[in-house]
Amino acid sequence: MKLKHDPYNLVVCGVGGQGNILIARMIGRLMVAKGYHVNIGETFGAAQRGGSVYSSLRLSQKREYGPLIPKGMAHMVVGLEPLETLRLLNEYGHQDVVTLTNTKPIQPVGVLAGRNQYPDMEALAKDIKDLSAQSWFVDATGLAVEMGAPIVANIVLMGALLGTEQLPITRQEVEREMAATFPAGKLSLNLDALKAGLAAV
């Protein structure tokens, strides 16, 4: 399996603390191991204060690309939070982009403080669908909560990403990478999360 485009521009976005960097770097390492050129751009100044965060991945067999995806030129947006998927589509989306979104909203502080209203979930999902050539929605947080560990929602979404078959990586490769990088005590939970995500698309 090869990249669907070269360079392939992938965005992984969410809210600080959701673990977007962890899965972005995991994808990066997996692609490096397969001989691809990989560059990941990150902004993480806001990571711990509830702000929007995203990683941009440039994957290529040709050469190294810079960390910034040109505006309107992402091939896929993976969102750990639906409002953030929309935000990044606004920046990087175009008519052929595909999206994978965790459906569980995280309320911005302006909403909690009663100043803004979080958009109606159905309307938000419709926006994302309208702005994607193909879109997948997974309740990754719900599945993680069912497993008793909301923290692994990012790994559930990683499993779902495998299920979308958009990237040239296999379940075995991800599992091997997780075995090599996760603490032994946390591995089985995370492998379960991956499996749950894979089954959800």
Partner: protein
């Protein structure tokens, strides 16, 4: 054996330093530079390094220069704002040089174009030129490793400190890096050079000598393999690209299909400017576009080179001429716009229909603001400050400082700070305002800084104010960490950068030693803290210090992993939207207004159980679980 590793830009810089045999590293934390010292500290024992978080950037460069003077290999690191703090010493260090002990000294400065995590997007390359320092700027993560390792040799050969500039999009990008060998650990014999006096003041010819030194560095830069040209022999457009501008130039050329018309001259050794190399490439073109991060630094040198070489009819495109936006960061689309403009080409990846859909979806795109974490002591401190200011008849204003508490001026803060400038400026400003009674000034001034900022540079301002008997209240929000940048050590912590036991300096004792009255309060005790503010506002003129001491919640949670109390909202007592004090005014993100019941609710998953909200509810509706 070389190996390839997936490195962050800052990690590649660290790898280069380790391969060059770095011994001594000092820095003050600041995004996007902080990972450099963190990664070096992690291998300090293994590589026999001294790694420290210095109290500020000036002290950091002085420490590193001392090590270089004694024959060691030293690095200092900082963000753009820190370079201004370090500049006085560095300017003089250029004049003296590093001496004859074969030491090496590289200063890494990480700029933040677009000011992602900064108060400004200043371009520090001007400061290297100002300070007569050789300046290099890598264009990619792998090049950052190679150039960093090489920079130490350059420093050693020319007995000069050397500046390596990075930017956010390099420091915080990750890529594959082919590492070189680490040198074997050899025993060192540090010895300060005291045989003759090293100072810039004793010899005016030092200025002449440093200019001659730069001329020798220029010769190396003219032939440096870090610079290079890719493209047709006689391009219709020459792009001179530095820093992130290089990758953006390549991408723009590729997307626009201009490989046979556009040549890209990558420049990575920037000052002294390799003008002969640039002139050679300018000789064959009529149009040149310069792509670089922030200011037209290279662009002005290109224009100067054209003049010096006597070329005529070459058009320089870039920030001065408005072909590239002169603020914000370099992006592939900015490069495409400028390059495409030359050939009448544009690239629009989005269909008109898609654009329309985006506009329609825009109404749902609400912002996600930043705020203090649930359980943050700063929220309580500013709450008490707000209450005290509202209760007094005096006109009170606040000078702020740089740290997590700066979130006060964000939309979800209490917006108490009226003036906010550079690191440590809270006290210097307040000291000035506190001397205005002579001119009819009647307002009361409160300055506020955090513990790390206090040690960094707010202390001299306080000392000055005490000496001049200014009328002011200084507040130190002592949360026991440099929280904003990742909990780095400072003199008030009992550990150092390497995680080892350090001598802890108490800011309370320090302020008492100045002779200022010092009050200490726990911000989680809102009543006592508000009273402390009110009492101090009524106190006799002079400098008063209030230390609000409570450890950063993220530090506490990491250590204790427990909730002190579990709270709930008594739905009977809660007045919901009619009140809104907890979610709408206190704005702890652990609260939400329940859209169905119309009452406040504690979001269990977000609440760390600090219990402060129980003190702010006017109806006593926020109670501990057991009591309910």
């Amino acid at each position: 054996m070389s190996q390839s590793t997936f490195y962050l830009g800052n990690e590649a810089i660290v790898r280069g330093a380790l391969e060059a045999g770095v011994d001594f590293a000092a820095a003050y934390p600041g995004t996007p530079s902080s990972e450099i010292i963190e990664r070096l500290a992690a291998v300090a024992d293994q590589r026999n390094l001294h790694v420290e978080w210095s109290i500020n950037e000036k002290v950091a460069v002085e420490g590193a220069a001392a090590a270089a003077n004694a024959g060691l290999t030293a690095v200092a690191a900082m963000k753009n704002a820190g370079m201004a703090v370090a500049l006085d010493f560095l300017t003089h260090l250029s004049m003296t040089g590093l001496g004859d002990a074969d030491g090496a000294n590289v200063v890494v400065v990480c700029d933040d174009p677009n000011a992602h995590s900064s108060g400004d997007e200043t371009d520090t390359r001007w400061l290297a030129r100002f300070a007569y320092a050789p300046l290099m700027e890598p264009t990619t993560v792998p090049e950052a490793r190679e150039m960093m390792a090489w920079a130490f040799g350059l420093s050693q050969r020319h007995k000069a400190w050397v500046m390596l500039r990075s930017c956010t999009r390099l420091s915080h990008a990750s890529s594959i890096v082919e590492s070189g060998e680490l040198p074997p650990l050899a025993p060192k014999k540090a010895r300060a050079q005291v045989e003759k006096c090293l100072t810039p003041y004793l010899a005016r010819p030092k200025h002449q000598a440093v200019l001659e030194k730069l001329a020798r560095v220029k010769e190396e830069f003219e032939a440096s393999p870090f610079n290079g040209y890719e493209g047709p022999d006689s391009p219709e457009l020459l792009v001179v690209a530095a820093g992130s501008g290089y990758m953006c130039a390549l991408e723009a050329r590729e997307i626009l299909g201009l490989a046979d018309k556009v040549g890209v001259l990558k420049l990575a050794t920037l000052w002294p400017f390799p003008s002969a190399l640039v002139a050679k490439h300018l000789a064959t073109v009529k149009k040149v576009l310069v792509l670089e991060e922030v200011d037209p630094f290279v662009e002005s040198l290109v224009s100067q080179t054209i003049g010096e070489a006597g070329f005529s009819g070459i058009e320089v495109l870039g920030k001065s001429g408005g072909q590239v936006t002169a603020f914000g960061e370099m992006t592939p689309e900015r490069a495409m716009e400028a390059m495409g403009g030359v050939f009448g080409l544009s690239h629009q990846p989005r269909s008109a229909q898609y654009q329309e859909k985006l506009v329609a979806a825009g109404k749902n795109l609400i912002s996600r603001g930043l705020t203090w974490c649930p359980g943050c002591p700063h929220r309580a401190s500013f709450w008490a400050l707000d209450k005290a200011i509202k209760a007094t008849k005096e006109e009170v204003f606040v000078t702020g400082d740089i740290g997590c508490y700066t979130l006060d001026v964000f939309p979800e803060g209490k917006c108490q700070m009226n003036l906010l400038h550079a690191m440590g400026s809270s006290t210097g400003l307040a000291g000035g305002f506190g001397k205005l009674a002579q001119f009819g000034g009647e307002q009361k001034v409160i300055s506020i800084c955090g513990d790390s900022t206090f040690f960094h540079s707010a202390f001299p301002g306080l000392l000055n104010a005490v000496h001049h008997q200014a009328d002011m209240i200084h507040v130190i929000l002592d949360n026991g960490a440099t929280a904003m940048t990742g909990f780095q050590a400072h003199p008030g912590t009992e550990y150092d950068a390497e995680g080892k036991q350090a001598h802890q300096v108490d800011p309370v004792a320090l302020c008492q030693a100045l002779g200022a009255p010092v009050v200490v309060a726990d911000p989680f005790d809102l009543k006592a803290t508000t009273k402390a503010f009110r009492d101090l506002l009524k106190a006799e003129p002079g400098v008063k210090v209030l230390v609000l001491r409570r450890v950063c919640e993220l530090v506490r949670m990491k250590k204790e992993k427990s909730k002190p109390v579990t709270l709930k909202v008594d739905q009977e007592k809660c007045k919901g939207e009619k009140c809104g004090v907890c979610y709408g005014s206190f704005r702890c993100p652990a609260f939400a207004l329940d859209s169905e019941g119309g009452k406040a609710r504690i979001r269990e998953e977000a609440c760390p159980g600090c219990g402060v909200c129980a003190q702010i509810c006017p109806f006593g509706a926020i109670v501990e679980e057991e009591q309910a």
